[in-house]
Symmetry: none
DNA sequence: ACCCAATCTGCGTGTTTATGCGGGTTTTTG
DNA sequence: CAAAAACCCGCATAAACACGCAGATTGGGT
């Protein structure tokens, strides 16, 4: 095994999984730990990867967006963990975009077997880390604001999909006014997404509860699950429970 | 055993296995190590292979290496700048994925008015920075390896597109063998892309010139522009000019 | 056929590179 | 805070390499 070959293989692993463990490489390449360490060190010096304790990480697409810059990240992770309990092997899942959904994807169990349809390239990219997940990116006009695909072409494609679960973030939710938002095109999109899934889960950080925006997306009767970072016993959630939602 | 014969045989081994060990060649060709070393050195100078400690590798077998961003970045920027001269306001442009294309997008003039179709989420995301550019992301199964959408759904959508220019990177190009690659699905995709554009430009860093992989994508007659970081007067480009390509 | 120059090849010598191992140190984790 | 894992450092060694030189081969030119 030539050194350069090892480097190639290591880089391939990195590109594939975005991370490698030293021990895995020892096993895979049948050389000593020291050699792997030296390889990683060299590749790191050449800026090909990021060496960390225990292995190495991909350097390429940390840039997509900054982990630490996400607003209310802890809350979103808490939401993600709850939402995952709705996901089972073999499901067909439809997702929107947004940082909450991305956090959810990052928390998925590594050996999950499922099919994800998404309108968000960021979500799609994140999902490629999971070997057991088939990712279908729904194409269309790409929105410069919300960074998802939209437009009639997306909606007509959605019509052909029959998902088990639709996971979607929201800008505002209210016990009486239901789900509301500001962008008409995106609203049409969300309506279409709701129609093609057996059940719909809304992921929503608590500060967006009980707020209303200009345009109505859907009433609460179209929604099956509401997932926030709060405990179910919180006062603010009572009104939603009363409306018949499953609140987590 | 003539030198030329040895060189032929070495290249055959390289094309077959993507790698050779010096010691194996000594055994196979029944000559001294020094001779083999000199052979490899010479072939390396003629850009036929990549000499490494212990043997040599195929020039095209460095795919994973430079996929990862910064490698040969300057060359890719140079390529990008040349490629931009092909782009005019009002054009409909179809692009593939890969770091070279992303560099190109980064170099685009800020006030360009155009429509971009792309199969790469990364390219789409990068393009959203330009107000004057409409971005259509073509949807389909999302490839974990090459990070582009592919499959029959993509191909059928491509059929409805009529682009002015198709910009695409490549893994290997050769004066006789044309464009070649390793992944059958991606090859079919590239073929479909070529068919729906009036002209096709290949972006290719020089070290991928004169290399060949397993599967044929297209002959040079399907390609209109070849863009590398080299000057047109370079020796390696002669063969492509002779084939009638516009070489930049 | 002969010679000469150019090239090619193999060998000896000294150098560099790649790798694994032992022992001590740091980081992680429960 | 202690065990385990991962790490770093120096050393030994074998393989690969570079370089100079001499003999062998080749390919015209006369």
């Amino acid at each position: 095994m030539l050194k350069r070959e090892r480097h190639e293989l290591i880089m391939r692993q990195i590109n594939l999984h975005n991370r490698v463990l030293t021990t895995d490489l020892v096993d895979l390449l049948q050389v000593s730990e020291d050699t792997i360490r030296r390889d990683l060190q060299e590749l790191c010096e050449h800026q090909k990867l990021l060496k960390v304790h225990g292995g190495a990480l991909s350097r390429s697409y940390q840039s997509a967006y900054d982990d630490n810059a996400i607003y209310a990240r802890d809350a979103k992770i808490a939401i993600a963990k709850k939402a995952i309990s709705l996901i089972k092997d073999g499901m067909v899942i439809l997702t929107g975009g947004g940082t909450t959904i991305i956090e959810l994807v990052k928390q998925l169990p590594v050996n999950l077997k499922a099919t994800f349809f998404t309108i968000s390239p960021f979500v799609a990219i994140e999902l490629t880390k999971y070997d057991g997940i088939e990712v279908i990116l729904i194409g269309g006009i790409f929105s410069k604001n919300s960074k998802v695909t939209y437009g009639s072409h997306v909606i007509s494609q959605l019509a052909g999909i029959n998902a088990d679960l639709c996971l979607i973030g929201t800008s505002a939710i209210h016990p009486q006014n239901g789900l509301t938002d500001t962008d008409w095109e995106i609203n049409e999109l969300k309506k279409a997404m709701f129609h093609c899934a057996k059940s719909v889960a809304i992921l929503c950080i608590s500060e967006k509860l009980n707020s209303t925006l200009r345009l109505k997306v859907a009433g609460l009767e179209n929604i099956h699950y509401l997932i926030t970072e709060l405990s179910v016993r919180e006062e603010v959630l009572k009104a939603y429970l009363a409306k018949g939602l499953n609140v987590y």
